[in-house]
Assembly symmetry: C2
Homo-oligomer: 168 residues x 2
């Protein structure tokens, strides 16, 4: 009885530590943003492809973003919106050479709408995690200016490049 | 009181008919397959882009497909799998010419795994609905052979072109 109790306690501690470690293994971005949970299960806003860096992408959104995208109420996007862009190097299909598919995973990047908190970068918090090991991008919190500067040409579109894809 | 009751009855019939009509406005494919409900809310398997017909796509899956894709157990895909391919003509981003985005919606097409029911077409039921008004593709049930013939080069991949994208 006593042995069982000790064994159970040890098992409990082991699982607690394991689960805790798993939850925290992805470091936050240098501006403190934590990687959004379960983003790869979010619904689709659009795909895209870039010929300048040979990448193919999907843009997903949290529930607030999806409601806004489908209701065409996205300029501005509502507070609480999170857009996730998942990016891969493109490769050619082995049996259909005109088809370009996702190859090596590059990174997942995010825009989080909070007009108060991120007023200095257009109301958006930016963050990116690189590679399958999800290393946060940027040496310090200043990395977000790099993101923001790149998004300035689409200022009139609430700093968002993505246009939600038309769907029935 | 009597007038109110008549008015309520008329309203009830009106709404019932309207909702019923909305539920049935998309015709089944000529082989009898009904368009899967809420497919645009499914989770992502991969994007793709085709340079031969200038289209950009996302491939989504029902819950059985997503479990199989993420567990890398897809040859064969399990019974009950449904793969949805949503296809748009590609356009160029107005502020980033090297970016290709979804333009006009072309169609949504489906592969439904039922090895018994669809034994003559590799265990897959094929169906496609064209345009935003979702008109079923094909003059008669024979259209599925056209789909199947196009998929024969990927017989060794359970007749599926899509490779699930690698994600952390």
């Amino acid at each position: 009885m006593k042995t069982s109790l000790i064994l159970l306690t040890v098992l409990f501690i082991f699982f607690t530590v394991t689960v805790f470690a798993a939850d925290n293994e992805i470091s936050p971005a240098p501006n403190g943003i934590e990687i959004p949970k379960s983003y790869k299960n979010w619904q689709i806003i659009a795909p895209s492809h870039r010929t300048d860096n040979n990448t193919i992408r999907v843009i997903l959104g949290n529930s607030i973003a999806i409601r806004a995208a489908r209701g065409k109420s996205i300029n501005p996007w509502p507070e609480g919106t999170i857009l996730a862009k998942i990016v891969w190097k493109d490769i050619t299909h082995e049996k259909w050479p005109a088809a370009q598919l996702p190859g090596k995973f590059v990174h997942a990047e995010f825009m989080i709408k909070d007009s108060g908190k991120y007023a200095s970068t257009g109301g958006w918090g930016f963050a990116r995690w690189k590679g399958l090991d999800q290393k946060p991008y940027g040496k310090d919190a200043g990395f977000a200016n790099e993101c923001f500067n790149c998004h300035k040409p689409v200022m009139d579109n609430d700093y968002v490049f993505t246009h939600p894809a038309d769907m029935p």
